[in-house]
């Protein structure tokens, strides 16, 4: 009884009583949420273009960030290292198409998924082989200072705000690109049916290279932002796990879904941890994100913005 009260009543009273704490949690939730969206976006792009659930997205984040800091450690200036890292991601896209995707046309989702697991191993191995497994500091000049708003009741951080801004910008650009260009339509066609797409002359090769390149660049940005937060190291690849509930909540195929999903998960998990965590013993964020996604799915099995699952006979 007491327990029920502590999870069903007390947290709401607390929210009522400490509104600034609540606002603060919502704000950090939003800024984290944008960063989740950024990682989820990489998944969405590739899924949209090939029906492939890219398990290696996390490894790509790691790989891109490692390449960047690795190059910078060798004395390259930031801009040069950035250009070279982008070039590396383009090269990766070419290789992936040449040695993997092309041979797996028309295979089932699970098989494609498994292939990306192979890719995941390759990227993790190569990234660490080339640049080492040590933690590396990434300094890209985004100011990192706390500042007060609402008369000092709420504390934010310039870095989080800037990162959220960069993330939002990228996400919106991509959303527009894919909604407004003919490429967007071709992408969706490919995701539905590889063979039919081939039959109407959509060049899978070009599409895939383009999409993997974009996903690679998104991974690079995600890697930079997260890497600047916690240092560039292997754990970066684990943030892919945080993108999963976002992806599922928003719908695998939807760019706006990735954004909204990210925000909902970000805010939801922060608020839950802040108000419900103490009663439940804390560290509930992880499963809470999934439970939240699950709760949404029960009402919309295809996610908030996902394409309706077609069931016909």
């Amino acid at each position: 009884m007491e327990f029920l009260e502590s999870i069903l009543v007390t947290p709401f009273i607390e929210i009522w009583e400490s509104p600034y704490y609540f606002i603060e949690l919502v704000l950090v939730g939003l800024s984290t949420g944008v960063l989740y969206s950024l990682v989820a976006l990489g998944f969405v792009l590739i899924f949209k273009a090939s029906g492939m659930f890219n398990f290696a997205q996390g490894a790509m984040v790691l790989f891109a960030a490692l390449t960047l800091v690795g190059l910078m450690e060798h004395g390259l200036p930031l801009w040069a290292a950035l250009i070279l890292s982008v070039a590396t991601m383009v090269g990766l896209a070419f290789l992936v198409e040449r040695f993997m995707l092309r041979h797996l046309v028309n295979q089932e989702g699970l098989i494609l998924f498994m292939a990306t697991i192979g890719l995941n191993f390759i990227l993790e191995g190569t990234g660490q082989l080339m640049w080492g497994s040590d933690v590396k500091r990434l300094e890209i000049g985004i100011p990192d200072q706390p500042f007060d708003i609402l008369g000092g009741k709420v504390l934010l951080n310039t870095f989080d705000v800037t990162a959220a801004f960069i993330g939002a910008l990228l996400v919106i650009t991509l959303a527009v690109f894919f909604q407004k260009t003919p490429m967007g339509r071709a992408l969706r066609a490919v995701a539905d049916d590889h063979q039919a797409a081939l039959s109407v002359g959509i060049p899978l090769k070009t599409i895939w290279i383009a999409v993997w390149t974009i996903a690679g660049i998104v991974a690079l940005v995600a890697g930079i932002v997260w890497g600047a937060k916690s240092g560039v190291q292997f754990s970066l690849s684990l943030i892919a796990l945080k993108a999963l509930p976002v992806l599922i909540l928003g719908g695998f195929t939807s760019v706006p879904g990735a954004i909204v999903g990210g925000l909902i998960i970000g805010v939801g998990e922060k608020v839950a941890e802040g108000f419900w965590g103490p009663a439940l013993g804390g560290a509930i964020e992880n499963w809470f994100a999934y439970m939240l996604a699950l709760a949404f799915l029960v009402f919309r099995p295809q996610g908030l913005f996902g394409e309706k699952i077609i069931e016909r006979v």
């Binding site: 704490y21 497994s133 040590d134 990434l138 990192d144 190291q233 945080k242 965590g277």
Partner: protein, 414 residues
């Protein structure tokens, strides 16, 4: 015939999520063993051999490595240093069966300090529980005495795993005794996201924070502490949250961060001079590259020194030849490292003397607080002895429970 060899297995993690911590430890071990061979021609003429096996900090790989290495060398493995609490738990039951001792220095199962139940496990110089008591002692000094602790707010920010939770029961006992208000704040693996935990802390406004973190969690915590403008000198990490890899990524924000340790950091000790001379050919830069002098490197060196001294001790009884795990265990149990020995080996000022007994496999060696100034660590307190009167009964109770569950009859040490 071949010269006698003493084989030391090395469970390392040079890859994966915890590699930044695993690499310096492994290098420390490696360099110290190599040094012994190059400088002294081994331990009393017995060549030291070693082999690494990569665990990636994963328990299943740890078990595999253990099985793979335990039979190597002419007499099998001398002892195991698992360097992971999870792997240690797995190896504890196997140790007594395979008759190979485990030396889990500053980690692993705390109650293994009770040598009557855990004959084969050694965890000197101090355990998580001892450490927690020493940290509270430190806080009391900062507050101006034990009586000033009453009403103070202390947060234990911990990794949400068996390791991270270890200190909780001791802290709870201490909270009751000294009347401070303890809040436990767990962070889920891997700990990249701590925004809400730190907002909670900001709301609590604790007087002190004690952190039991690991891996990326440490770096993020230090950054987040800066984000909420928490004063660094009230924020103390345990000895797994106080290495160079934890503070460097946080940049200037980490200045003034405190952590516990039981050995000195830096490369100014005698043993480092020898290492640079014998292994790096006098090239200090190359040594630096290999992390010589970093906190966890030094931990590897200290650990290797304990291990080899145990062998030396055992040699005094069994002769200067390859020893079995069982004989090394005897050496560990009778290990007595005096200040004199330390000076001779080049560890002067780096480690405190220690003496293991049949009953006490931990020794409750003193703990010290170190401070990061943005470039290096330096001592920021005097040596703090743990509170034996609180910790030891807890240890014995837990060991007794373990003995009961596993049908072990504690041996008699008198």
């Amino acid at each position: 015939a071949k010269a006698d060899e003493q084989f030391f297995p090395m469970l390392v993690y040079r890859t994966g999520a915890y590699a930044p911590s695993g690499i310096p430890v492994a290098n420390g071990f490696r360099d110290y063993y190599t040094l012994l061979n190059k400088r002294d021609g081994g331990i009393n003429g017995v060549t030291v051999t070693f082999e690494e096996c990569e665990t990636q900090y994963k328990t299943n790989l740890g078990v595999e490595c253990y099985e793979k290495l335990k039979g190597n060398g002419p007499t099998g493995a001398s002892l195991f240093n698992p360097y992971s609490t999870g792997i240690t738990y797995q190896l504890i039951p196997k140790a007594s069966v395979d008759k190979i001792p485990i030396l889990s220095m500053g980690y692993g199962r705390t109650s293994a300090a009770d040598g009557r139940v855990f004959e084969w496990v050694f965890n000197p110089p101090a355990t998580y529980w001892s450490q927690a008591s020493a940290v509270i002692k430190y806080f009391s000094r900062r507050a101006g005495g034990y009586d000033k602790l009453a009403g103070k707010k202390i947060v234990h920010l911990h990794h949400n795993s068996a390791y991270g939770k270890e200190a909780n029961p001791t802290l709870e006992v201490l909270a009751k005794r000294y009347g401070f208000k303890l809040t436990l704040v767990p962070v889920d693996h891997p700990g990249q996201e701590q925004a809400s935990q730190w907002r909670q802390i900001r709301r609590i406004k604790p007087d002190f924070i004690f952190m039991s973190g690991w891996g990326v969690m440490n770096q993020v915590a230090i950054k987040e502490a800066g984000n909420i403008r928490y004063p660094m000198d009230q924020f103390v990490g345990n000895w797994w949250s106080g290495s160079d890899a934890d503070v460097v990524p946080a940049g200037d924000g980490a200045k003034g961060y405190l952590s516990t340790t039981f050995h000195g950091a830096g490369s100014d000790f005698g043993v480092h001079a020898d290492i640079i001379k014998h292994i790096y050919g006098g090239d200090a830069a190359a040594a630096k590259e290999n992390k010589v002098g970093e906190v966890l490197y030094n931990r590897g060196v200290v650990n290797a020194m304990f291990a080899t001294e145990a062998v030396r001790t055992a040699q005094a009884k069994f002769g200067n030849k390859s020893l079995t795990g069982e004989q090394v265990r005897w050496g560990l149990e009778n290990l007595n490292i005096t200040q004199e020995t330390l000076d001779k080996l080049g560890f002067k000022g780096m480690v405190s003397p220690l003496k293991i007994t049949c009953e006490d496999h931990e020794t409750m060696g003193p703990v010290i607080i170190q401070k990061w100034d943005g470039a290096k660590w330096s001592y920021a307190s005097e040596w703090l002895t743990p509170m034996r009167d609180i910790v030891r009964p807890l240890v014995e109770a837990d060991a007794a429970a373990y003995a009961k569950e596993n049908n072990i009859t504690p041996r008699n040490c008198n």
